[in-house]
Symmetry: C2
Subunit: 233 residues, 2 copies
Amino acid sequence: MSTPGRGLHGQVLDTLGPEITAGEYPPGSVLRTDELAQRFDVSRSVMREAVRVLESMHLVESRRRVGVTVRPRSEWNVYDPQVIRWRLAGADRPHQLRSLTVLRSAVEPVAAGLAARNATAEQCKELTECALGMVAHSRGHQLEGYLFHDIAFHRVILNASGNEMFARLGDVVAEVLTGRTQHDVMFEDPDPAAVTLHVKLAEAVRERDAARAEELTREIAVGALQELDILAP
Amino acid sequence: MSTPGRGLHGQVLDTLGPEITAGEYPPGSVLRTDELAQRFDVSRSVMREAVRVLESMHLVESRRRVGVTVRPRSEWNVYDPQVIRWRLAGADRPHQLRSLTVLRSAVEPVAAGLAARNATAEQCKELTECALGMVAHSRGHQLEGYLFHDIAFHRVILNASGNEMFARLGDVVAEVLTGRTQHDVMFEDPDPAAVTLHVKLAEAVRERDAARAEELTREIAVGALQELDILAP
DNA sequence: GGGAACAAAAAGTCAGACTTATTTGTCACA
DNA sequence: TGTGACAAATAAGTCTGACTTTTTGTTCCC
Protein backbone atom coordinates (compact mmCIF):
# COMPACT_ATOMS: atom_id res chain seq x y z
CA MET A 1 0.00 0.00 0.00
CA SER A 2 1.08 3.56 -0.66
CA THR A 3 4.68 4.15 -1.74
CA PRO A 4 7.27 2.30 0.32
CA GLY A 5 10.93 3.17 0.33
CA ARG A 6 10.97 6.01 -2.17
CA GLY A 7 14.51 6.95 -1.36
CA LEU A 8 16.59 7.02 1.77
CA HIS A 9 14.69 9.91 3.28
CA GLY A 10 11.54 7.88 2.89
CA GLN A 11 13.02 4.98 4.82
CA VAL A 12 14.01 7.35 7.58
CA LEU A 13 10.45 8.66 7.70
CA ASP A 14 9.10 5.13 7.88
CA THR A 15 10.58 4.78 11.33
CA LEU A 16 10.84 8.36 12.54
CA GLY A 17 7.29 9.30 11.54
CA PRO A 18 5.60 6.54 13.53
CA GLU A 19 7.85 7.29 16.51
CA ILE A 20 6.77 10.90 16.61
CA THR A 21 3.08 10.26 16.01
CA ALA A 22 3.19 7.58 18.68
CA GLY A 23 4.19 10.28 21.11
CA GLU A 24 7.60 8.73 21.72
CA TYR A 25 9.00 12.24 21.76
CA PRO A 26 6.63 14.41 23.80
CA PRO A 27 5.72 17.85 22.48
CA GLY A 28 8.59 20.25 22.98
CA SER A 29 11.22 17.55 22.68
CA VAL A 30 14.24 18.66 20.73
CA LEU A 31 15.93 16.54 18.10
CA ARG A 32 19.22 17.40 16.46
CA THR A 33 19.60 16.89 12.74
CA ASP A 34 23.18 15.71 13.14
CA GLU A 35 22.31 13.15 15.78
CA LEU A 36 19.42 11.84 13.72
CA ALA A 37 21.66 11.58 10.68
CA GLN A 38 24.12 9.55 12.72
CA ARG A 39 21.40 7.36 14.19
CA PHE A 40 19.98 6.48 10.77
CA ASP A 41 23.39 6.41 9.17
CA VAL A 42 22.48 8.82 6.41
CA SER A 43 24.01 12.06 5.25
CA ARG A 44 22.84 15.38 6.63
CA SER A 45 21.23 16.26 3.28
CA VAL A 46 19.00 13.20 3.42
CA MET A 47 18.15 13.85 7.03
CA ARG A 48 17.28 17.43 6.26
CA GLU A 49 14.87 16.34 3.53
CA ALA A 50 13.15 14.03 5.99
CA VAL A 51 12.85 16.83 8.51
CA ARG A 52 11.36 19.09 5.85
CA VAL A 53 8.62 16.55 5.23
CA LEU A 54 7.87 16.23 8.93
CA GLU A 55 7.81 20.00 9.07
CA SER A 56 5.29 20.22 6.25
CA MET A 57 3.08 17.85 8.21
CA HIS A 58 3.38 20.21 11.16
CA LEU A 59 4.74 17.38 13.27
CA VAL A 60 7.93 19.30 14.05
CA GLU A 61 9.32 22.77 13.77
CA SER A 62 12.91 23.48 12.83
CA ARG A 63 14.56 26.55 14.28
CA ARG A 64 18.09 27.82 14.12
CA ARG A 65 20.26 27.41 17.13
CA VAL A 66 17.50 25.37 18.78
CA GLY A 67 16.98 22.23 16.77
CA VAL A 68 13.98 20.29 15.57
CA THR A 69 11.24 20.54 18.16
CA VAL A 70 8.21 18.26 18.25
CA ARG A 71 4.91 20.13 18.03
CA PRO A 72 1.86 19.42 20.19
CA ARG A 73 -0.61 16.97 18.71
CA SER A 74 -3.17 19.73 18.31
CA GLU A 75 -1.08 21.22 15.53
CA TRP A 76 -0.45 18.10 13.50
CA ASN A 77 -1.90 17.81 10.00
CA VAL A 78 -4.13 14.93 11.02
CA TYR A 79 -5.73 14.80 7.58
CA ASP A 80 -2.46 13.88 5.93
CA PRO A 81 -2.93 10.27 4.77
CA GLN A 82 0.61 9.48 5.80
CA VAL A 83 0.03 10.78 9.31
CA ILE A 84 -3.22 8.84 9.50
CA ARG A 85 -1.43 5.66 8.46
CA TRP A 86 1.33 6.19 11.01
CA ARG A 87 -1.15 6.78 13.78
CA LEU A 88 -3.29 3.82 12.80
CA ALA A 89 -0.18 1.68 12.99
CA GLY A 90 0.62 2.91 16.48
CA ALA A 91 -0.72 2.80 19.97
CA ASP A 92 -3.56 5.28 19.68
CA ARG A 93 -5.07 3.29 16.86
CA PRO A 94 -8.40 2.90 18.71
CA HIS A 95 -8.61 6.60 19.42
CA GLN A 96 -7.81 7.37 15.79
CA LEU A 97 -10.42 4.92 14.52
CA ARG A 98 -13.03 6.62 16.67
CA SER A 99 -12.16 10.09 15.48
CA LEU A 100 -12.26 8.99 11.87
CA THR A 101 -15.52 7.11 12.27
CA VAL A 102 -17.17 10.19 13.76
CA LEU A 103 -15.85 12.17 10.82
CA ARG A 104 -17.31 9.60 8.47
CA SER A 105 -20.66 9.81 10.22
CA ALA A 106 -20.74 13.52 9.51
CA VAL A 107 -19.47 13.51 5.96
CA GLU A 108 -20.83 10.40 4.29
CA PRO A 109 -24.55 11.14 4.67
CA VAL A 110 -24.13 14.51 3.00
CA ALA A 111 -21.89 12.96 0.35
CA ALA A 112 -24.51 10.29 -0.33
CA GLY A 113 -27.17 12.94 -0.74
CA LEU A 114 -25.03 14.73 -3.28
CA ALA A 115 -24.18 11.46 -4.99
CA ALA A 116 -27.87 10.79 -5.51
CA ARG A 117 -28.01 14.07 -7.40
CA ASN A 118 -24.74 13.90 -9.29
CA ALA A 119 -23.84 10.26 -9.87
CA THR A 120 -23.30 9.27 -13.49
CA ALA A 121 -24.94 6.19 -14.94
CA GLU A 122 -21.55 4.50 -14.80
CA GLN A 123 -21.21 5.28 -11.12
CA CYS A 124 -24.71 4.00 -10.39
CA LYS A 125 -23.78 0.77 -12.09
CA GLU A 126 -20.55 0.47 -10.10
CA LEU A 127 -22.47 1.13 -6.92
CA THR A 128 -24.92 -1.65 -7.63
CA GLU A 129 -22.12 -4.04 -8.49
CA CYS A 130 -20.33 -3.21 -5.25
CA ALA A 131 -23.49 -3.79 -3.25
CA LEU A 132 -24.04 -7.12 -4.96
CA GLY A 133 -20.44 -8.02 -4.25
CA MET A 134 -20.99 -7.25 -0.58
CA VAL A 135 -24.04 -9.47 -0.52
CA ALA A 136 -22.17 -12.27 -2.24
CA HIS A 137 -19.36 -12.17 0.32
CA SER A 138 -21.50 -11.50 3.38
CA ARG A 139 -21.58 -15.11 4.58
CA GLY A 140 -19.04 -17.79 5.25
CA HIS A 141 -16.03 -15.82 6.44
CA GLN A 142 -15.21 -14.14 3.16
CA LEU A 143 -14.09 -11.03 4.98
CA GLU A 144 -11.46 -9.99 2.46
CA GLY A 145 -13.91 -10.08 -0.41
CA TYR A 146 -16.50 -8.24 1.61
CA LEU A 147 -14.01 -5.58 2.64
CA PHE A 148 -12.93 -5.07 -0.95
CA HIS A 149 -16.45 -4.32 -2.12
CA ASP A 150 -17.25 -2.28 0.97
CA ILE A 151 -14.30 0.00 0.33
CA ALA A 152 -15.14 0.31 -3.35
CA PHE A 153 -18.75 1.12 -2.48
CA HIS A 154 -17.92 4.00 -0.18
CA ARG A 155 -15.28 5.27 -2.56
CA VAL A 156 -17.80 5.48 -5.37
CA ILE A 157 -20.24 7.36 -3.15
CA LEU A 158 -17.60 9.88 -2.13
CA ASN A 159 -16.40 10.35 -5.70
CA ALA A 160 -19.93 10.59 -7.07
CA SER A 161 -20.71 13.41 -4.65
CA GLY A 162 -18.79 15.66 -7.01
CA ASN A 163 -17.07 17.38 -4.11
CA GLU A 164 -13.31 17.01 -4.18
CA MET A 165 -12.98 17.34 -0.40
CA PHE A 166 -15.32 14.42 0.05
CA ALA A 167 -13.67 12.44 -2.71
CA ARG A 168 -10.28 12.70 -1.02
CA LEU A 169 -11.67 11.01 2.08
CA GLY A 170 -11.87 7.77 0.11
CA ASP A 171 -8.45 6.72 1.30
CA VAL A 172 -9.33 7.54 4.88
CA VAL A 173 -12.48 5.45 4.72
CA ALA A 174 -10.50 2.64 3.18
CA GLU A 175 -8.03 2.74 6.06
CA VAL A 176 -10.83 2.73 8.62
CA LEU A 177 -12.66 -0.17 7.04
CA THR A 178 -9.45 -2.14 6.62
CA GLY A 179 -8.45 -1.45 10.17
CA ARG A 180 -11.82 -2.52 11.46
CA THR A 181 -11.68 -5.83 9.62
CA GLN A 182 -8.09 -6.60 10.43
CA HIS A 183 -8.04 -5.94 14.12
CA ASP A 184 -10.78 -4.76 16.32
CA VAL A 185 -14.29 -5.88 15.64
CA MET A 186 -15.70 -8.19 13.02
CA PHE A 187 -14.65 -11.64 14.09
CA GLU A 188 -17.62 -13.06 12.32
CA ASP A 189 -19.66 -12.26 9.25
CA PRO A 190 -20.81 -8.66 8.78
CA ASP A 191 -24.13 -7.50 10.16
CA PRO A 192 -26.85 -8.47 7.66
CA ALA A 193 -28.67 -5.23 8.42
CA ALA A 194 -25.66 -3.25 7.24
CA VAL A 195 -25.51 -5.22 4.02
CA THR A 196 -29.18 -4.54 3.37
CA LEU A 197 -28.66 -0.84 4.00
CA HIS A 198 -25.92 -0.72 1.39
CA VAL A 199 -28.14 -2.40 -1.18
CA LYS A 200 -30.93 0.05 -0.45
CA LEU A 201 -28.50 2.94 -0.65
CA ALA A 202 -27.34 1.90 -4.09
CA GLU A 203 -30.99 1.77 -5.04
CA ALA A 204 -31.74 5.20 -3.62
CA VAL A 205 -28.83 6.75 -5.53
CA ARG A 206 -29.96 5.05 -8.72
CA GLU A 207 -33.44 6.48 -8.23
CA ARG A 208 -32.07 9.97 -7.46
CA ASP A 209 -33.70 9.95 -4.03
CA ALA A 210 -31.28 12.24 -2.22
CA ALA A 211 -33.16 12.42 1.06
CA ARG A 212 -33.43 8.65 1.30
CA ALA A 213 -29.79 8.18 0.36
CA GLU A 214 -28.77 10.58 3.10
CA GLU A 215 -30.98 8.91 5.68
CA LEU A 216 -29.81 5.41 4.78
CA THR A 217 -26.20 6.49 5.07
CA ARG A 218 -26.96 7.96 8.46
CA GLU A 219 -28.22 4.55 9.52
CA ILE A 220 -25.08 2.91 8.22
CA ALA A 221 -23.05 5.44 10.17
CA VAL A 222 -24.97 4.75 13.35
CA GLY A 223 -24.10 1.08 12.95
CA ALA A 224 -20.43 1.92 12.54
CA LEU A 225 -20.51 4.14 15.61
CA GLN A 226 -22.20 1.46 17.67
CA GLU A 227 -19.58 -1.09 16.66
CA LEU A 228 -17.03 1.16 18.36
CA ASP A 229 -19.31 1.82 21.33
CA ILE A 230 -19.69 5.45 20.41
CA LEU A 231 -23.19 6.13 21.62
CA ALA A 232 -25.37 8.91 20.31
CA PRO A 233 -28.28 8.89 22.75
CA MET B 1 -0.61 34.80 8.34
CA SER B 2 1.04 31.44 8.90
CA THR B 3 4.82 31.26 8.67
CA PRO B 4 6.34 33.27 5.84
CA GLY B 5 9.89 32.82 4.64
CA ARG B 6 11.09 30.04 6.92
CA GLY B 7 14.23 29.53 4.96
CA LEU B 8 15.10 29.64 1.31
CA HIS B 9 13.16 26.51 0.47
CA GLY B 10 10.09 28.16 1.96
CA GLN B 11 10.47 31.16 -0.28
CA VAL B 12 10.74 28.89 -3.28
CA LEU B 13 7.54 27.15 -2.22
CA ASP B 14 5.78 30.47 -1.83
CA THR B 15 5.92 30.94 -5.57
CA LEU B 16 6.22 27.38 -6.88
CA GLY B 17 3.36 26.03 -4.76
CA PRO B 18 0.77 28.52 -6.00
CA GLU B 19 1.94 28.01 -9.57
CA ILE B 20 1.34 24.29 -9.39
CA THR B 21 -1.97 24.47 -7.55
CA ALA B 22 -3.11 27.09 -10.03
CA GLY B 23 -2.66 24.48 -12.73
CA GLU B 24 0.10 26.43 -14.41
CA TYR B 25 1.85 23.13 -15.03
CA PRO B 26 -0.80 20.65 -16.20
CA PRO B 27 -0.78 17.13 -14.74
CA GLY B 28 2.03 15.10 -16.22
CA SER B 29 4.25 18.12 -16.76
CA VAL B 30 7.87 17.43 -15.99
CA LEU B 31 10.08 19.78 -14.03
CA ARG B 32 13.82 19.37 -13.64
CA THR B 33 15.37 20.01 -10.24
CA ASP B 34 18.44 21.63 -11.78
CA GLU B 35 16.41 23.99 -13.94
CA LEU B 36 14.24 24.97 -10.99
CA ALA B 37 17.34 25.57 -8.88
CA GLN B 38 18.68 27.85 -11.60
CA ARG B 39 15.38 29.65 -12.01
CA PHE B 40 15.09 30.43 -8.31
CA ASP B 41 18.81 30.96 -7.96
CA VAL B 42 19.21 28.51 -5.11
CA SER B 43 21.41 25.48 -4.63
CA ARG B 44 20.23 22.02 -5.59
CA SER B 45 20.01 21.05 -1.92
CA VAL B 46 17.51 23.80 -1.21
CA MET B 47 15.56 22.95 -4.32
CA ARG B 48 15.47 19.31 -3.36
CA GLU B 49 14.00 20.16 0.04
CA ALA B 50 11.29 22.19 -1.64
CA VAL B 51 10.50 19.32 -3.97
CA ARG B 52 10.29 16.96 -1.01
CA VAL B 53 7.64 19.14 0.56
CA LEU B 54 5.63 19.28 -2.66
CA GLU B 55 6.00 15.53 -2.86
CA SER B 56 4.64 15.05 0.64
CA MET B 57 1.62 17.09 -0.40
CA HIS B 58 1.20 14.74 -3.34
CA LEU B 59 1.39 17.67 -5.71
CA VAL B 60 4.32 16.14 -7.56
CA GLU B 61 6.14 12.87 -7.86
CA SER B 62 9.88 12.63 -8.22
CA ARG B 63 11.32 9.76 -10.22
CA ARG B 64 14.84 8.95 -11.30
CA ARG B 65 15.79 9.59 -14.87
CA VAL B 66 12.38 11.24 -15.41
CA GLY B 67 12.21 14.32 -13.28
CA VAL B 68 9.57 15.88 -11.07
CA THR B 69 6.16 15.24 -12.59
CA VAL B 70 3.03 17.11 -11.58
CA ARG B 71 0.27 14.86 -10.30
CA PRO B 72 -3.40 15.15 -11.28
CA ARG B 73 -5.50 17.29 -8.97
CA SER B 74 -7.41 14.25 -7.81
CA GLU B 75 -4.33 13.06 -5.94
CA TRP B 76 -3.45 16.29 -4.17
CA ASN B 77 -3.64 16.46 -0.39
CA VAL B 78 -6.42 19.02 -0.51
CA TYR B 79 -6.74 19.04 3.27
CA ASP B 80 -3.25 20.39 3.72
CA PRO B 81 -3.75 23.93 5.06
CA GLN B 82 -0.90 25.14 2.91
CA VAL B 83 -2.47 23.70 -0.23
CA ILE B 84 -5.81 25.23 0.74
CA ARG B 85 -4.19 28.61 1.18
CA TRP B 86 -2.41 28.37 -2.16
CA ARG B 87 -5.59 27.42 -3.93
CA LEU B 88 -7.61 30.12 -2.22
CA ALA B 89 -5.04 32.63 -3.40
CA GLY B 90 -5.32 31.43 -6.97
CA ALA B 91 -7.77 31.29 -9.82
CA ASP B 92 -10.01 28.48 -8.63
CA ARG B 93 -10.71 30.33 -5.44
CA PRO B 94 -14.49 30.28 -6.03
CA HIS B 95 -14.45 26.55 -6.68
CA GLN B 96 -12.40 25.98 -3.57
CA LEU B 97 -14.70 28.11 -1.45
CA ARG B 98 -17.66 26.06 -2.61
CA SER B 99 -16.00 22.74 -1.85
CA LEU B 100 -15.02 23.91 1.60
CA THR B 101 -18.43 25.36 2.37
CA VAL B 102 -20.09 22.08 1.47
CA LEU B 103 -17.61 20.33 3.73
CA ARG B 104 -18.50 22.76 6.50
CA SER B 105 -22.19 22.09 5.99
CA ALA B 106 -21.56 18.41 6.61
CA VAL B 107 -19.16 18.66 9.51
CA GLU B 108 -20.26 21.61 11.61
CA PRO B 109 -23.76 20.42 12.50
CA VAL B 110 -22.39 17.16 13.86
CA ALA B 111 -19.61 19.03 15.61
CA ALA B 112 -22.14 21.36 17.21
CA GLY B 113 -24.16 18.41 18.44
CA LEU B 114 -21.06 16.96 20.06
CA ALA B 115 -20.11 20.34 21.44
CA ALA B 116 -23.46 20.56 23.20
CA ARG B 117 -22.55 17.32 24.98
CA ASN B 118 -18.88 17.93 25.63
CA ALA B 119 -18.30 21.66 25.95
CA THR B 120 -16.68 22.78 29.18
CA ALA B 121 -18.09 25.66 31.19
CA GLU B 122 -15.20 27.76 29.94
CA GLN B 123 -16.02 26.94 26.33
CA CYS B 124 -19.69 27.77 26.87
CA LYS B 125 -18.65 31.12 28.22
CA GLU B 126 -16.35 31.79 25.27
CA LEU B 127 -19.13 30.84 22.90
CA THR B 128 -21.52 33.31 24.47
CA GLU B 129 -18.91 36.04 24.37
CA CYS B 130 -18.24 35.38 20.71
CA ALA B 131 -21.94 35.52 19.92
CA LEU B 132 -22.28 38.78 21.78
CA GLY B 133 -19.28 40.12 19.92
CA MET B 134 -20.93 39.21 16.64
CA VAL B 135 -24.09 41.04 17.67
CA ALA B 136 -22.08 44.07 18.71
CA HIS B 137 -20.32 44.27 15.34
CA SER B 138 -23.26 43.28 13.17
CA ARG B 139 -24.20 46.81 12.14
CA GLY B 140 -22.39 49.74 10.70
CA HIS B 141 -19.74 48.16 8.52
CA GLN B 142 -17.65 46.66 11.31
CA LEU B 143 -16.83 43.67 9.14
CA GLU B 144 -13.39 43.03 10.60
CA GLY B 145 -14.72 42.87 14.13
CA TYR B 146 -17.62 40.70 13.07
CA LEU B 147 -15.32 38.34 11.20
CA PHE B 148 -13.02 38.04 14.20
CA HIS B 149 -15.81 36.89 16.48
CA ASP B 150 -17.38 34.71 13.80
CA ILE B 151 -14.11 32.81 13.35
CA ALA B 152 -13.61 32.48 17.08
CA PHE B 153 -17.17 31.22 17.48
CA HIS B 154 -16.82 28.41 14.97
CA ARG B 155 -13.39 27.54 16.27
CA VAL B 156 -14.77 27.07 19.77
CA ILE B 157 -17.57 24.85 18.47
CA LEU B 158 -15.13 22.66 16.57
CA ASN B 159 -12.75 22.42 19.50
CA ALA B 160 -15.54 21.76 21.99
CA SER B 161 -16.74 18.82 19.91
CA GLY B 162 -13.87 16.88 21.43
CA ASN B 163 -13.05 15.34 18.07
CA GLU B 164 -9.56 16.16 16.86
CA MET B 165 -10.50 15.80 13.19
CA PHE B 166 -13.19 18.41 13.64
CA ALA B 167 -10.95 20.62 15.72
CA ARG B 168 -8.35 20.74 12.97
CA LEU B 169 -10.90 22.19 10.57
CA GLY B 170 -10.82 25.41 12.56
CA ASP B 171 -8.15 26.85 10.30
CA VAL B 172 -10.08 25.85 7.22
CA VAL B 173 -13.24 27.54 8.47
CA ALA B 174 -11.20 30.61 9.32
CA GLU B 175 -9.87 30.75 5.77
CA VAL B 176 -13.34 30.36 4.31
CA LEU B 177 -14.87 33.05 6.49
CA THR B 178 -11.98 35.40 5.84
CA GLY B 179 -12.16 34.78 2.13
CA ARG B 180 -15.88 35.39 2.10
CA THR B 181 -15.53 38.72 3.87
CA GLN B 182 -12.52 39.93 1.92
CA HIS B 183 -13.62 39.23 -1.59
CA ASP B 184 -16.77 37.63 -2.78
CA VAL B 185 -19.96 38.33 -0.94
CA MET B 186 -20.72 40.48 2.07
CA PHE B 187 -20.54 44.00 0.76
CA GLU B 188 -22.86 45.10 3.48
CA ASP B 189 -23.65 44.12 7.05
CA PRO B 190 -24.11 40.43 7.81
CA ASP B 191 -27.53 38.84 7.59
CA PRO B 192 -29.35 39.53 10.89
CA ALA B 193 -30.89 36.07 10.73
CA ALA B 194 -27.43 34.49 10.77
CA VAL B 195 -26.46 36.54 13.79
CA THR B 196 -29.57 35.42 15.64
CA LEU B 197 -28.85 31.80 14.80
CA HIS B 198 -25.39 32.09 16.31
CA VAL B 199 -26.80 33.54 19.51
CA LYS B 200 -29.35 30.74 19.72
CA LEU B 201 -26.66 28.17 19.01
CA ALA B 202 -24.53 29.41 21.88
CA GLU B 203 -27.64 29.11 24.02
CA ALA B 204 -28.38 25.58 22.87
CA VAL B 205 -24.85 24.44 23.64
CA ARG B 206 -25.01 26.07 27.06
CA GLU B 207 -28.26 24.22 27.74
CA ARG B 208 -26.83 20.90 26.48
CA ASP B 209 -29.49 20.65 23.81
CA ALA B 210 -27.56 18.63 21.22
CA ALA B 211 -30.43 18.15 18.78
CA ARG B 212 -31.22 21.84 18.73
CA ALA B 213 -27.56 22.78 18.39
CA GLU B 214 -27.24 20.48 15.41
CA GLU B 215 -30.38 21.81 13.77
CA LEU B 216 -29.42 25.44 14.31
CA THR B 217 -26.02 24.81 12.78
CA ARG B 218 -27.69 23.19 9.81
CA GLU B 219 -29.65 26.39 9.32
CA ILE B 220 -26.48 28.44 9.52
CA ALA B 221 -24.93 26.13 6.93
CA VAL B 222 -27.90 26.51 4.60
CA GLY B 223 -27.39 30.26 4.77
CA ALA B 224 -23.72 29.89 3.89
CA LEU B 225 -24.56 27.61 0.97
CA GLN B 226 -27.18 30.02 -0.33
CA GLU B 227 -24.73 32.87 -0.22
CA LEU B 228 -22.64 30.93 -2.73
CA ASP B 229 -25.67 29.92 -4.78
CA ILE B 230 -25.27 26.30 -3.86
CA LEU B 231 -28.87 25.19 -3.81
CA ALA B 232 -30.12 22.20 -1.87
CA PRO B 233 -33.64 21.72 -3.22
C1' DG C 1 10.73 -8.33 -34.95
C1' DG C 2 12.55 -9.33 -30.44
C1' DG C 3 15.85 -9.33 -27.03
C1' DA C 4 20.27 -8.08 -24.97
C1' DA C 5 23.87 -4.91 -24.32
C1' DC C 6 24.97 -0.17 -23.94
C1' DA C 7 24.75 4.80 -23.30
C1' DA C 8 22.66 8.85 -21.54
C1' DA C 9 19.97 11.43 -18.32
C1' DA C 10 18.23 12.88 -14.15
C1' DA C 11 17.48 12.14 -9.41
C1' DG C 12 19.81 10.44 -5.34
C1' DT C 13 23.62 10.43 -2.06
C1' DC C 14 27.56 12.01 0.34
C1' DA C 15 31.25 14.88 2.45
C1' DG C 16 33.07 19.11 3.74
C1' DA C 17 33.41 23.94 4.11
C1' DC C 18 31.21 27.93 5.06
C1' DT C 19 27.23 31.34 6.60
C1' DT C 20 23.75 33.06 9.55
C1' DA C 21 20.49 33.56 13.04
C1' DT C 22 19.55 32.95 17.84
C1' DT C 23 20.44 32.04 22.31
C1' DT C 24 23.01 32.44 26.33
C1' DG C 25 26.33 34.16 29.18
C1' DT C 26 29.33 37.80 30.66
C1' DC C 27 30.77 42.13 31.90
C1' DA C 28 30.55 46.87 32.53
C1' DC C 29 27.83 50.68 33.70
C1' DA C 30 24.04 53.03 35.87
C1' DT D 1 20.58 45.14 41.83
C1' DG D 2 19.28 45.48 37.38
C1' DT D 3 20.00 46.52 32.60
C1' DG D 4 22.15 47.13 28.56
C1' DA D 5 25.53 45.98 25.12
C1' DC D 6 28.70 42.87 23.47
C1' DA D 7 30.87 38.40 22.60
C1' DA D 8 30.91 33.43 22.19
C1' DA D 9 28.80 29.24 21.25
C1' DT D 10 25.65 26.48 18.78
C1' DA D 11 22.84 24.28 15.50
C1' DA D 12 20.39 24.94 11.41
C1' DG D 13 20.96 26.77 6.78
C1' DT D 14 23.42 27.04 2.39
C1' DC D 15 26.53 25.94 -1.34
C1' DT D 16 29.57 23.18 -4.17
C1' DG D 17 31.39 19.36 -6.50
C1' DA D 18 32.06 14.67 -7.05
C1' DC D 19 30.10 10.36 -7.26
C1' DT D 20 26.24 6.55 -7.46
C1' DT D 21 22.03 4.48 -8.97
C1' DT D 22 18.07 3.78 -11.45
C1' DT D 23 15.50 4.11 -15.42
C1' DT D 24 14.78 4.95 -20.14
C1' DG D 25 15.75 4.78 -24.87
C1' DT D 26 18.61 3.27 -28.51
C1' DT D 27 21.27 0.42 -31.10
C1' DC D 28 22.89 -3.66 -32.69
C1' DC D 29 22.83 -8.42 -33.37
C1' DC D 30 20.44 -12.76 -33.79
